[in-house]
């Protein structure tokens, strides 16, 4: 929504994954089994950047200046965004952000400086600037910085799982595919307009620190979206509906469908029909309803009400002036009844195709998986090395779980979200079996609008589609629906959790946090789930329509 360079809004879901894939993500506890590819798999033009020379120069200068810790991070972020309107190209932007940042702990105080010219002189100058700002900050920083220990990884490489790097495909080919998808939807007589977006990122990252860790990593992500608009000229209203294919850590094969993850033919064929039905649907009667929430909607509720609430920096107040704090404070660890006993939430940086998946974080900490909520009780947080050390007694661990991330070479690493996921119930019901349990309710599919308060209590979400449930069956769509609840009330009302066959990994490119603002990609997996007596609003009535 920022004028100039419009970014496609946070959107979308991915269809069902294969059972084999699901088992992998549900059982892998460490990075073992992951492709640890050789650097030859990495983009040669990235590896040709003078990262080692600059890193060595920077860390040497840092040591001369008597820092306790220094890390050097050089990144190249390729990004491309393509937008189409009614099957015609509206705009493209092909960008590349290269640069480096140096972070030091000097006399117990942080300092950070970033630069873009890839010369050793600039690297040395950045270190000197980082130390200078640490000195400026020193008197205003009574707290001394100390980092949790982490094993040293002298020369490690990691690449994400994908087949075709989208930056090896011509822009013309990409436009052609998205134009074809658009026209198929636009051909339907009830569809008035179609917009389509394709976002793609190739992230190359080199990290080196004064303890001796050196990592080189590469990952790919992309997000294709097609949205249809139908205008009711007579009635004066309009409705939109979009594809639910989630942003994913996958390659170009995901956009063409050749990997079998998204069945684009079916998706594009049903979209106009679903939209037509929605435009003609009755407006919802507000009140309390039992809900079956599809993973294509529930992931965003998890993101907002669990993911952000269990970021320890928020719980400690570091985001109090911006993103906010959390009701789930450290004194509640091990005793907060977050939700029903069916609730098992994990965090990880290892799920295949996850948007927060990485080999090592931006403090040289190896990727892990851990519990956030077990049997409905709060049991874990997302950490970086500073917080892990500071809160070691409370957390009963002395190691970071690897959640430091900077969105660009020019920004300092802050604690960012892992893939926070609700685990399915072993042998649990299908979505249809969940729906069968309800005499009267609503089945909610796809995310749309989202909002939650700064302490992560009160939330309100809408969706792409709302299907009325009557006597265990779907009975047509409703419109103007929003659900509103308080986090713990909502999760305590979870009465049934779907089985692994309902599990879907969704996510977003643009989770925002920090000052200066940073965006991070993150995925959330979840099954379908059943919630009792949730407040439903009629959004038309709320808006006086």
């Amino acid at each position: 929504m920022v004028p100039d360079e419009s970014i496609p809004p946070v959107r979308s879901l991915e269809p069902r994954r294969s059972a084999a894939e699901l088992r992998r993500s549900a059982t892998v506890e460490s990075r073992t089994g992951y492709a640890r590819r050789m650097p030859t798999d990495m983009d040669a033009t990235f590896l040709a950047l003078p990262m080692r020379a600059l890193g060595d120069a920077a860390l040497q200068r840092a040591q001369e200046l008597s820092v306790q810790h220094a890390d050097f991070r050089l990144e190249r972020i390729r990004s491309q965004h393509i937008s189409l309107r009614d099957g015609r190209l509206e705009g493209t932007h092909d960008g590349e952000d290269v640069g480096f940042g140096v972070r030091v702990v000097h006399e117990g105080t942080w300092g950070f400086a970033a630069a873009v010219d890839l010369t050793t002189d600039e690297a040395v100058r950045a270190v000197e600037q980082a130390v200078e700002i640490a000195r400026t900050a020193h008197d205003m920083s009574p707290q001394r910085i100390d980092l949790a220990d982490e094993p040293v990884y002298p020369n490690r490489t990691w690449t994400s799982a994908y087949r075709i790097d989208p930056f090896t495909v011509t822009e013309a080919d990409k436009i052609q595919v998205m134009a074809d998808y658009s026209r198929r939807v636009l051909d339907h007589p009830r569809v008035d307009h179609v917009t389509a977006h394709l976002g793609q990122v190739l992230e190359g990252k080199y990290y080196a620190d004064t303890s001796g860790t050196v990592t080189t990593q590469q990952r790919v992500r992309l997000h294709p979206v097609v949205e249809a608009l139908a205008v009711d000229t007579a009635g004066g209203g309009f409705e939109t509906m979009r594809t639910l294919a989630a942003p994913a850590g996958r390659g170009w094969e995901y956009v063409t469908g050749s990997d079998g993850v998204v069945h684009w033919d079916a998706v594009l064929e049903e979209l106009p029909e679903l939209l037509t039905e929605k435009l003609a649907a009755p407006s919802v009667e507000p009140g309390e309803y039992d809900l079956v929430i599809d993973p294509t909607n529930l992931w965003l509720t998890i993101h907002e009400s669990i993911g952000h609430a269990t970021e320890l920096d928020r719980a400690l107040g570091y985001e109090a002036n911006y993103a906010g704090t959390s009701f789930a404070t450290p004194d509640k660890l091990g005793n907060l009844n977050y939700g029903s006993p069916l609730m098992h939430v994990t965090a990880d940086r290892i799920a295949p195709h996850g948007l927060a998946t990485i080999g090592f974080d931006d403090e040289g900490v190896e990727a892990q998986r851990w519990d956030i909520v077990r049997d409905g009780i709060l049991v874990g947080y997302q950490l970086d090395r500073q917080m892990a050390r500071m809160m070691a007694d409370t957390l009963d661990t002395s190691r970071s779980n690897g959640c430091a991330y900077a969105d660009s070479p020019g920004h300092v690493a802050v604690q960012r979200m892992a893939n926070v996921s609700l685990q399915p119930a072993d042998g649990g019901p299908s979505t249809a079996e969940l729906i069968e349990q309800l005499d009267r309710g609503i089945y909610i599919v796809g995310d749309k609008s989202w909002s939650i308060d700064m302490q992560r209590y009160n939330f309100q979400f809408t969706g792409q589609r709302f299907h009325r449930i009557e006597n265990g069956q779907l009975a047509g769509q409703l419109k103007d629906v929003a659900y509103q609840a308080t986090t713990t009330d909502f999760w305590r009302s979870m009465a049934a959790v779907g089985g692994p066959q309902t599990y879907v990994l969704s996510g977003a490119f643009n989770c925002g946090k920090g000052q200066p603002g940073q965006v991070a990609p993150v995925s959330h997996g979840c099954p379908a789930a059943l919630f009792r007596q949730v407040r439903i609003l009629n959004t038309a009535a709320e808006g006086g329509r």
Binding site: E90, H93, G95, A114, Q129, R545
Partner: protein, 463 residues
């Protein structure tokens, strides 16, 4: 190592290399410095510099004119040619652009030769000691301070094959501070934008926070409902920026926004408010000055790379309560049959004949609410532009024209468009900083507004 090129040299070299029919080069250089703190201690800080070179190539054939846009950050004399060629290659394959128009013509403007503006951590020279004192005072008096101050100078160089050589230097800065009582039950916020952060009076901001935490010594629980509500300029900016971002003419013409007349184009010319309300942008407006030209790094519904360098001037989007203009490219202006009024990087709201401060509005309220700012604002229903969001860091009870205590937070569901027609009273317009959007859109001038029936949909337990 080769010596870094100046922005002007980069522009000229790219234009020399260009073999396209038309070429626009944008060089964006930015210097910034920031300090962040929490719990009365600094947490992170940084100084950053960045540079980005964007090349727009346009190539015409019998069927029309295509554009190709490629941007790179780390450029050297050796890599410029590949950047220009990549942009041409993209244009050659993209096919005719719908928004194609002749590139803007012109000459070198004064100031073109100037180097890019800079800032550094030194800009906090006078502010840092005051902050340190504020932290010490807060610790002594049992408060916690959380905040952020940033200063940046972004310089844009725009050169084109049609002769344009334009330079714009944009200083931007802001400070925001949240103060909480030791038990975290009371919270207050202040925020202020400033082109020159050395002018910020931290001690005065701190005193305002102390005053607000004092108001919250008495906390009253109130239920959801419609309240007579005073929105300070910051909260008005939170709502009006979103309205502005929704003013795409092309989207309205398609039928997908609150400014659409379904099947019949846009609502331009329609009265939105019975009040003499004006929503405007003006690159020359005091305190919120911004670029007097179009700068477009990609084409979209409301930006066209072909329009780069087009002059912009004061535009009334809403005048005297009537919708007058929408965000346009030259292309969308033809599609909609309206004036070509491109987006401008600031926004103001004025209510004719209104003057006075927040305190003046409060003094006229018998029983109502005074807000501080809004948060997590998202669009619920595009048909009415119904927005949801929350109050944050200070909702105060007004009784008999005075603040009598603090109130719990609320979730609201309100449309800024509908709200313009329900203004009960307004104050004078002054520079305001939006809590929700200020880091993207810092240049706003807003009045405080009194709305007699603001819709608080439910209670938020956040404190």
């Amino acid at each position: 190592m080769t010596a870094p090129m100046t922005p002007q040299q980069i522009v000229e070299r790219c234009l020399e290399l260009s073999k396209a029919d038309g070429c626009v080069v944008l060089v964006d250089e930015s210097h910034s410095a920031n300090l962040r703190w929490a719990n009365n201690t600094l947490t992170t800080n940084g100084v950053m510099r960045s540079r980005s070179v964007t090349v727009v190539s346009t190539i015409a054939d019998g069927s029309g004119t295509a554009s190709g846009v490629v941007a790179r950050s780390a450029v050297t004399p050796e890599t410029l040619e590949s950047l220009v060629r990549a942009s041409e290659e993209t244009a050659r394959h993209n096919g005719p652009a719908e928004d194609a128009r002749p590139l803007v013509e012109g000459t070198a403007a004064s100031g073109w030769d100037q180097p890019s503006g800079e800032t550094s951590v030194g800009v906090f020279g006078s502010l840092s000691p005051a902050l340190g004192e504020a932290f010490a005072r807060a610790s002594r008096e049992g408060r916690r301070s959380y905040g952020y101050v940033e200063h940046s100078v972004a310089t844009t160089y725009l050169g084109s094959s049609t002769g344009l050589r334009l330079r714009h230097e944009q200083p931007t800065g802001h400070i925001t501070i949240t103060a909480k009582s030791a038990d975290l039950q009371r919270s207050a916020w202040v925020g202020q934008a400033s082109r020159d952060v050395s002018q910020v009076d931290v001690t005065a901001l701190d005193a305002e926070l102390v005053r607000r935490l004092g108001w919250a010594k008495r906390i009253v629980e109130l239920p959801a409902g419609h309240y007579d509500t005073v929105l300070p300029p910051s909260a008005v900016a939170d709502l009006m920026i979103y309205l502005y971002w929704t003013m795409s003419a092309r989207d309205a013409h398609d039928g997908r926004t609150v400014f659409s007349k379904p099947g019949q184009g846009t609502r331009v010319g329609e009265r939105l408010s019975a009040r003499a309300v004006s929503l405007w942008s003006d690159p020359a407006a005091a305190g919120v000055q911004c670029a007097p030209i179009v700068v477009a790094h990609a084409s979209s519904a409301e930006h066209s790379v072909f329009d780069n360098g087009l002059p912009v001037r004061r535009t009334a989007w809403i005048a005297d309560g009537t919708l007058r203009a929408l965000l346009q490219t030259r292309h969308s202006a033809e599609v909609t049959g309206l004036d070509a009024t491109p987006p401008i990087d600031n926004l103001g709201l004025t209510v004719d004949g209104s003057a006075g401060s927040v305190d003046d509005l409060v003094s006229g309220v018998d029983r109502g609410l005074l807000l501080t700012c809004l948060w997590y604002i998202r669009e619920v229903d595009p048909q009415t532009l119904l927005l949801t969001g929350l109050t944050r860091d200070g909702v105060y009870r007004i009784e008999d024209g005075e603040v009598s205590g603090a109130v719990n937070n609320f979730r609201f569901n309100e449309s800024p468009v509908a709200l313009l027609d329900r203004i009960g009273a307004a104050g004078g317009t002054s520079p305001a900083f939006s809590r929700e959007w200020g880091d993207y859109f810092p240049r706003t001038a807003m009045p405080p507004l009194r709305v007699p029936d603001f819709n608080m949909s439910s209670v938020s337990p956040a404190s």
